[in-house]
Every structure is written in C-alpha cells, then in structure tokens.
Amino acid sequence: MIISEYMRNEHRECDELFADTEKSVIDGDFTKAEEQFLLFADKTLTHFKKEEESLFPTFEELTGNTEGPTRVMRFEHEQVRGLLGKMAESVENKETDAYLSLAESMMILLQQHNMKEEQMLYAMCDRMMPQEIKEKTLSTMKVIEL
C-alpha cells in the first residue's frame, strides 16, 4: 500500500492548502491568499508531474494500456491546469466572487479525480506492481520537482 499511502497523503496536503486559501479569500486577506494559492498550485502541479512522469508510465508499461485510466487522468489534469490559471488571475485581481466560484468548480473536479485515483488507480498500482518497482517509483516521485 506504499503508493496509495504516499499519494493519498499528497492529496490531503493539497486539500489543506486549498482550504487555507479559500479562508483567506473569504476574510478578504488577499496578500495571504496569494501566498497560499501559490503553495496550493505548486503542490498540485508537482503532484501531477509525479503522476504523469513516473507513476502513469510505470502503470502503462505494466498494463500495456495507454488509452485507459491514465488517459482519463491526464485529461482531467489538463482541466485542473486550466482552472488554476483562472484562479490565479482572480486572486491577483482580488475578485472574491469569481475566486469562490472557480474554487467551487475546482474542488468538485479535483475531489472526483482524486477519488478515482485513490479508489482505483493507486489501489491497482499497489496490487499489481512488484515490490521493487513500487519502491523505485516511489523514490523517483519523491525527488521530482516542478
């Protein structure tokens, strides 16, 4: 379960940062919100990079399938990236209403994405990958930076 554990933990960390940002926006503290948002975006994008450059290719190699689950996941990453850009803009322009609206979409999008990964993809990785490959993938992911 080492893959699930590590990745799930990253999802939780992103959730925390997201909630912090939203709280600051509601309080009207945009200086703080901007800092927190950057942390959130950074963490999320790094996590995506770990998946796209290490975990997904390993999974695809093992299953011989590049059209399946990972394709859906990559597509959803693109949607999240698009929203991140818009959210950054609204934080910069101090638009509370727009930010909260985008945040709402982002949360639903991200949560259903994470749920699919946690309940299916990571679980499959932990089940199928031999221990050494799991450990190798994990150590590769740990050093990936944006």
């Binding site: 909630a19 399946g68 639903i108 749920m115 309940q119």
Partner: protein, 423 residues
C-alpha cells in the same frame, strides 16, 4: 470506475437530457402544489384516492425523475458504468414515466378497470426498463466504488417496489387475485421509501459528501455494510409482513441504523475542511436532522404508538428529508455540470458556477424550503394553515424551476453565441 477507451463523460448523456429530467421533476412538484390546493384540506385528510394521487405525484413525478436524472449523470462518473445510446434510453424512460404517471393518476381518479392495466404496463414497464438498464450495468463492474454497491441495491429495492406496485394496480383493476393486497401495499411502501429513496441517498452520500465538502471519509464499516444491512432488513421485513408476523424489531433496527447514519453524516459535515457554509451544506444538515426526527417518530410509533397528528408529522419530515437532499444536489450539480460540459466542449466563455445559479439563490430557496416545512408542521395541528402551506409548495418548486430553466438557457446561449476552441 474507468471506461476503457474513453472519457467517462463521453458516455454520460448530454447535459440537456439530464436537465430535462430535473425540469420534469420540478414541474411535477408544481403540479403537486396545485393539486394540494385543488383538493383542499378536507379531501387531503380523509380521501384515500386523493392521498394516493398526491403520494404518486411526489414519489414518481418528483423523486423518481430527479433520481433517474441524477443516476444517468452520475453512473458513468462515480461508478464507471457505461450506458450505450444514453440519449435514446433516457428520452424513452422519461416519456414512459410521464405518460405512465399521468395514466396512473387518471386511473386512481376514474376507477376505469382497463386503465389499471394500461398504467401498470406504461408506468411499471417504463420504470422497470429504467432500473434493469442500470442494474445490468452495475452488476458487471469489477471494482466497486464506495457508492456503487449501494446504488445497485437501491435500484433492486426500487424494482421490487415497482413489481409490487404492478401487482397492486392489477389487483385493484380486478385482473389478479387480491388476497395479498394489504401485505403488498405495506411492502410496496417500505421498499419505495426506505429501499429506494433513503437507500439511494445513503449510498450516494458516501461519495458525494466527501467530494463536495471535502470531509473526512465515512468509516469503512459503515460505507461497506450499511446499504446491504438496510436492504436485508427490508427483505426480512417483507417476509414477516407476508407471514403476518410482527415487524416491530426490524422496524426498530432500521430506524436506529438510519439515525446512526444521519449522525455520522452530520459529523462529517462538521469536520469538513472548507470554511464556506453555502446553502447546500444547510440543506444537508436540515435533511439529516429531518431524517433523525422521522426515525425517532417511527421508533415511537412502533413501540408506544403515536396519534394521527404525529404520524402526519413523520410523513412530511421524511418528505422534507428527501427533498432537502435533492435540493442540495441540484444547487451543486446543475451549476457544476453546466460549466463542466461547456468547458469540456471547448467554450472559452463557459459560465462560472456562480453565473449559472448564484449561491444566494440557493440560500433564498433554503429559506423558502424551511418556511414550507414549518407551515406543514403547523398544518398537522391547525388545518387553517393548509392553503398557505400548499402555496409554499408551489413557490418552492417554482423557484427551482426558474433557475433550472435559466441554467438551460445559459447553456444553449453559450453553445450558440460564443466561440469554441477545438481540442
């Protein structure tokens, strides 16, 4: 949970089809309010025909339409179920549901024997067609999500309610022997209310509460075993009903389990990570509170017995529970899906969620909804509030209908008049 070779949304029916289910449901809600006014409080309290007419407008016209719409949309996304030619199937189901229900209402109010058979065929057949399509897909999936097993059981529960309903219609029409009429009626209600509506809400919440409000997970013990336990108890209850054995123990257990579930859900919501408390959070809280009240009244009724007024209160708290959750879902998924589908199709100016239905509108609806419920509470004891309470039903569904139509217009407008980026 994943579909081979395609994005889950490609298998979902177009958004407008789903929206049509929701609009149909809300229109039946308006019809419910109008019928309440038309029948008046005298008939409402004593006339059996009036009661079953109103119950079926609510249970099928409103609830089943909402839930089928939601299931068509959610099965591909949260359970990974692929339904081929979704538009064709969805439209056929919607047509059968609407015409079947209207025939059934005419049947109740005219008592023409032939109509009983026609409505059993149209409504029963249409609804069974819908449940079997979904059940057949759900049975096949290999990796179940936290919600999908419960959804499957709820659909089986609904199918049993429908079969019992067909039997009831045919025996009322004089086509089959009516020996088990009373037992079948009781089992019909218990599967429809608990085995379908409540069980579906329970199952969906295991995934949706966490997803929409970023809450801690439900304990696995609960999400893994509660749906099956509830379902088994309902089957046991039916066996007891048909063997004329007292169902008190089973009823008590059911009530306690629902209270435990509602308690856990309230606790999840309390522990949620996001600071915002939008109206949909309040709809969930209210819904869970009403479920607890319903079950306490139900417990009181099975143990010491309650009077007619309290029984009446327990009916409308249950209805209030189901509608609160439906409204909570509408104000989240309609704005989200409008944005999501449009931005997936590449529309750069896809409206944001707030532009589709602003959270303030949901807040207003929450106030309307609470007022409606309070007035029905008063009506249980003072019948002079009946007209006002009925009017509020019209206002409540009217409010939602307006915003659903607005969302549909916004969707159509964006597709027709804004620029599209090709992926």
């Amino acid at each position: 949970m994943f579909n081979q070779g395609g994005l889950s949304l490609e298998q979902a029916p177009p958004f407008l089809v789903v929206l049509r289910f929701f609009i149909t449901a809300t229109t039946f809600g308006l019809l419910l309010g109008i019928s309440l006014l038309a029948y008046g409080s005298e008939l409402f309290y004593i006339d059996y025909t009036t009661q079953i007419t109103l119950i079926h407008i609510l249970a099928i016209g409103v609830m089943a339409s909402f839930m089928f719409g939601a299931l068509f949309q959610m099965l591909p996304v949260i359970a990974g179920v692929v339904i081929q030619t979704p538009t064709k199937k969805a439209m056929l189901i919607l047509a059968l549901l609407t015409t079947g229900l209207i025939t059934q209402l005419l049947t109740f109010n005219s008592n023409i024997s032939l109509l009983y058979a026609v409505s059993a065929f149209l409504l029963g057949g249409g609804l069974l067609h819908a449940t079997t399509i979904m059940i057949r897909r759900l049975v096949k999936i290999a990796d179940h999500s936290t919600s999908s097993k419960g959804m499957l059981l709820a659909l089986i529960g609904f199918s049993l309610a429908i079969l019992l309903g067909i039997y009831l219609l045919l025996s009322l029409g004089g086509y089959v022997d009516a020996t088990f009429l009373i037992q079948a009626k009781e089992a019909h209600y218990s599967f429809a209310l608990f085995g379908w509506v409540a069980l579906l809400i329970v199952s969906i919440s295991f995934q949706v509460v966490e997803m929409f409000y970023v809450t801690p997970k439900y304990p696995t013990l609960l999400s893994n075993y509660l749906p099956l336990t509830l379902f088994s108890l309902l089957v046991l209850k039916t066996v007891l009903i048909f063997s004329s054995i007292n169902t008190q123990m089973v009823d008590g257990l059911l009530a306690i389990l629902f209270i435990i579930y509602a308690g856990f859900t309230l606790h999840r919501l309390y522990k949620r990570k996001r600071p915002t408390s939008d109206a949909t959070v309040w709809f969930w809280r209210l819904g869970m509170g009403l479920l607890i009240i319903t079950m306490l009244l139900f417990l009181a009724d099975t143990t010491v017995g309650t009077d007619a007024s309290l029984k009446f209160v327990s009916y409308f708290t249950f209805i209030g529970f189901a509608l609160s959750i439906v409204f909570a879902m509408m104000y989240k998924i309609v704005p989200f899906l409008t944005w999501f589908h449009l931005s997936n199709q590449g529309y750069i100016e896809a409206p944001m969620m707030h532009e589709v239905i602003h959270p303030k509108k949901a807040k207003n609806h929450f106030a309307i909804h609470v007022t409606t419920l309070l007035l029905w509470g008063l009506t249980a004891f003072f019948s002079q509030f009946y007209i006002l309470a009925s009017l509020m039903v019209i206002i409540s569904f009217g409010w939602l209908l307006y915003h659903l139509i607005y969302a549909m217009k916004k969707y159509n407008h964006t597709q027709k008049h804004t620029k599209k980026m090709e992926w």
